[in-house]
């Protein structure tokens, strides 16, 4: 019964993915002007341009170009970069790993720091640690990524020289960018954790737990957190998209060779194949991420599991059938 739901969600995701691919493709082609001309700059003469255009298949009608693209894409061929002259798949491969590492570090930072601060704040509500942490989280939410990145770079890399200014030769090169990237998410997670935890602690079943004789720590961990974390987890899944947005900037500031920086280069170089492939990659990751998050939420919250089973039209599970007391 959960599988039917999963299948439905998967189909939806595929539709969105198809839409995204189409959108990217169309967006990039409606730019006026022949990309070949832009590529060749001053050296362009009508003959060479015409020849190259035909070679690259850019004179074909749009839908033909689209199908060609899709058919090569599924075979792993995303074309050749206009500006760098190399096959796109190769360029992306290495960059993807860097971005992935960066995103994972940032996410880990955001979640560990965010949840930790949130819990601590909720427990010590309205006292000094609470105000301190909430102040930090406010800073996190309002500091734009590029500011955080430049601040960190200036203070810790340039002035204090504790960490490298740019590049990823050693893993330490990921630390500052990860913090800059995850800073924003950490703030959001901290605030959300605090508020859901505070709300949860007002629920009736917390009273029941206390009436059973549970101590404050047990109540917190075994009852409150289990419920409070659910909305926080969904939020973390949504943030993934934001992490990719921020990666574009962080990679630029810290000169990390990642997908984000490639995208920026692709735009300045009017490099359609590269831009296309990076956009597709980014959105696919986001779509997969939210799919995963959805499934995770179902697994963790038994109420949702059952609600979804019912709405998916699966055969009525006996548990959905209310039994009289």
């Amino acid at each position: 019964m959960m599988k039917r739901n999963l299948a439905r969600r998967l189909v939806q995701a595929l539709i969105v993915l198809a839409g995204v691919t189409l959108l990217i493709f169309v967006m990039l082609r409606i730019v006026p002007g022949n990309p070949v001309e832009t590529m060749m700059g001053e050296h362009a003469n009508a003959e060479t341009v015409a020849r190259m255009t035909a070679e690259m298949g850019l004179d074909q009608p749009l839908h033909v170009q689209f199908f060609r693209y899709i058919s090569s894409a599924v075979r792993g061929d995303f074309g050749t970069s206009y500006s760098l002259g190399k096959p796109v798949s190769g360029l992306i491969g290495g960059a993807f790993i860097n971005t992935l590492i960066l995103a994972l570090f940032a996410a880990a930072f955001a979640w560990i720091v965010g949840i930790g601060c949130g819990i601590f704040s909720a427990v010590k509500k309205n006292r000094l640690p609470d105000r301190l942490f909430m102040g930090f989280s406010l800073l996190g939410i309002s500091l734009p990524v590029f500011m955080a990145a430049m601040l960190l770079q200036y203070v810790f890399a340039f002035k204090l020289k504790w960490l490298p200014i740019s590049g990823t030769e050693s893993w330490t090169g990921f630390i500052l960018p990860a913090i800059a990237l995850g800073w924003n998410s950490a703030g959001q997670v901290a605030q959300m954790t605090r508020s859901t935890l505070l709300e949860t602690l007002q629920e009736d079943y917390i009273d029941t737990a206390r009436a059973k004789g549970r101590g404050p720590f047990g109540v917190l961990v075994r009852h409150a957190l289990r419920n409070a974390m659910l909305p926080v987890l969904t939020m973390m899944a949504i943030q993934f998209s934001g992490l990719l947005s921020g990666a574009v900037i962080t990679e630029t500031v810290f000169s990390i060779n990642g997908v984000g920086r490639l995208m920026v280069q692709a735009i300045s170089g009017r490099d359609i194949p590269l831009l296309q492939a990076t956009s597709l990659l980014a959105t696919t990751v986001v779509i997969l991420g939210s799919l995963l998050a959805d499934c995770l939420y179902s697994v963790l919250d038994p109420r949702i599991r059952q609600e979804r089973a019912r709405t998916a039209g699966a055969s009525a599970s006996r548990t959905a059938h209310e039994m009289e007391g």
């Binding site: 629920e203 079943y205 009273d207 029941t208 009436a211 059973k212 549970r214 919250d301 209310e322 009289e324």
Partner: protein
């Protein structure tokens, strides 16, 4: 055995607010003799739930018990450190709450929740705890107890959930069970069953303190009744006596309004006025503003609880006199 399971003397709970201190429980004294069911009745907001919470030690900040003592089977518990009190909760004295809907942790199976109560106070293995859970489910008449253990709260009906709550409260065989509006959220047929269950518990040695605004519930199962108004006890007597000869104008008003419903006399009798604002109580009797028999002194001087006949106390200057009703 003439021992008193619960003895409360002069209990007062204070809540500081921006507009002043309010006392939802004001100098309350009551007893629950061993092997009996005692009821506290009153309108919403009269302080009955607060009293129960104060006894359990479950008052929510900023409410605090500032005066009085509570003894369980002769042992003073208000002076105990929190750690000791926690050992008593769930084991010697337990409580069930009004809303079975929200009083159980929604993401934990009910079997596990009852097992938690067991393992908090008795050292035993998981299997033993599980077996004991099934046993207690059977005792509270939950059908198919083994299957039900694996259910989540949202999969059970209201009546079943309340039975689970009772099971959880009784599993360590407490001396006192406090039931705060145990049947208010249930429909009438289920209510009768739950009340019968409470009577059975009393017969097996647990004293029960029932809190309700429902006179029918009180009439059906209680041996002795306390009537509360604006934080104070205004009348107390054996059930028969209080229903035969209610002395306090408030109690009379309560009974009248219910009786008029049943007899279909055409007019719905009500007590004029609204629940008092605890910040603006008169210096004298709290009920004086709504009392039809309000006399000269009533508004200025607070009457004491005086015994009008053995076992029957009233807090009213005009009690015992046949009023103008």
């Amino acid at each position: 055995m003439n021992e008193k399971t619960l003895e409360i003397r002069g209990l007062t709970v204070c809540i500081p607010t921006e507009k002043g201190v309010i006392r939802p429980v004001n100098d309350v004294s009551l007893e629950v003799p061993a092997g009996s069911i005692v009821g506290i009745v009153g309108e919403s907001g009269c302080g009955k739930s607060m009293t129960a919470r104060a006894v359990m030690g479950l008052l929510r900040y900023p409410a605090k018990a500032t005066a009085g003592s509570v003894s369980l089977c002769g042992r003073a518990i208000t002076s105990l450190p929190e750690k000791e009190r926690r050992k008593l909760r769930g084991a010697e004295i337990s409580m069930i709450f009004q809303e079975p809907m929200t009083s159980l942790n929604p993401v934990v199976k009910v079997g596990r929740q009852v097992e938690e109560a067991i393992r908090l106070h008795m050292s035993c293995s998981r299997e033993e705890a599980k077996a004991r859970t099934v046993e207690i489910f059977r005792e509270v008449e939950i059908p198919e107890p083994e299957n039900r253990c694996g259910c989540y709260p949202h999969q059970l009906s209201g009546g079943l959930r309340q039975r689970v709550m009772i099971a959880m409260a009784m599993v360590c065989k407490p001396k006192l069970l406090i039931a705060d509006e145990p049947t208010t959220a249930l429909d009438v047929t289920v209510e009768a069953q739950i009340l019968k269950l409470l009577e059975r518990l009393r017969d097996t040695g647990t004293s029960v303190l029932i809190i309700s605004h429902n006179l029918g519930v009180i009439a059906k199962v209680c041996d002795y009744v306390y009537v509360m108004y604006a934080g104070r006890i205004v009348e107390q007597a054996e059930t028969n006596r209080i229903f035969d000869r209610p002395a306090h104008p408030y109690t009379r008003g309560l009974f009248r309004s219910v009786a008029s419903l049943r007899e279909g006399s055409g007019t719905l009798e009500t007590i004029p006025g609204v629940v008092p604002n605890l910040l603006r109580l008169p210096a004298g009797c709290s009920f004086s503003l709504r009392c039809r028999q309000c006399g000269e002194n009533c508004r200025r001087i607070m009457p004491d609880l005086a015994e009008t006949e053995p076992g029957h106390k009233v807090r009213c200057f005009l009690a015992g006199k046949e009023g103008t009703e």
